[in-house]
Symmetry: D2
Subunit: 98 residues, 4 copies
């Protein structure tokens, strides 16, 4: 089952500068071979369900190892059985109608 995800990981108890943690997660996702697109309030991810969620778990582990005692994450995730749809498809589909 393929999934499109928007991942937003927020470490708590480490001050207000979160970019080192987000950058570490980007590396986790890339090393997992996932297709990603960083945007200003999260990272869009495309991949197989198990690979994507294994990588999200690894992100939590890495951010805790970096010293964050608490993490709150927001994830949007979409699956569909009617057709295959990539991250680019979704954007193009909207842009064609503008």
């Amino acid at each position: 089952m393929k999934v499109l995800v928007d991942l937003c990981i927020v470490p708590l108890g480490v001050g207000v500068s979160l970019s080192p943690y987000i950058a570490a997660c980007e590396k986790v996702l890339t090393e997992a071979g996932l297709k990603t697109a960083l945007h200003s309030y999260g990272t869009d991810i495309e991949g197989e369900w198990d690979a994507v969620f294994a990588a999200i778990k690894r992100c939590h582990e890495v951010v805790h190892e970096m010293g964050a005692p608490r993490i709150t994450t927001t994830v949007k995730l979409g699956t569909r059985t009617d057709r295959v749809q990539t991250m680019e498809d979704k954007i193009e589909s909207v842009k064609r109608k503008l």
Copy 2:
């Protein structure tokens, strides 16, 4: 790694009445042995990471099997390494300060 989750599964392409799908997911979560609390915009879940995310995957599979061609889900999830915190702890912690 223990996780607290707020799960909100939204089947698309099946009209506006979503409760049969939500009820099916409740059964999936309960049968997985997870602690849950239904609220009016989702279901709070407490459990081990792998068990929780296996159940969420199963929810997507079941909702697709029920006929929904597309699903969009919003998940909030929290982990912490500084201490153990249950769903009830979080609510009590706020209520003590009201």
Copy 3:
């Protein structure tokens, strides 16, 4: 336009103990006369659009005034024109199908 909301406010830069900030927001919501239900990963709110979003803005202002330099909030919000639906209706609708 009536709206049902799930509000989860996360102050950053104030350590890992967030309950004083959540409690302050609960007071803002209650003083605004909104119907609310605290759950373990947020607060469900029912009310008129303008009143609800004025209160959410006030929550951000209050949490900043309490000393949080940064806030990240996740909101789920639902509107419908086909019928009136309360927070309790949504829960009952699911429970009848369990």
Copy 4:
């Protein structure tokens, strides 16, 4: 108060093809003079709080007028008092650490 938002509007009861509704919302946001960036699971928005939330309300009104009887929306929103931060700043801040 300036706010950065990730907006994901999901019309229900209109089938699985949501792009016409998303495109209509893009127009609402642009006509409101807001800075936006479409990504594959939502639209990032930067602006003053009142202008942003007036536009989000207008999106709900427009999507209902287009025939959607029900809408569920997920919003992430961030405010900060310590410094001004644009959508581009957030992305650059992460990329510098990769």
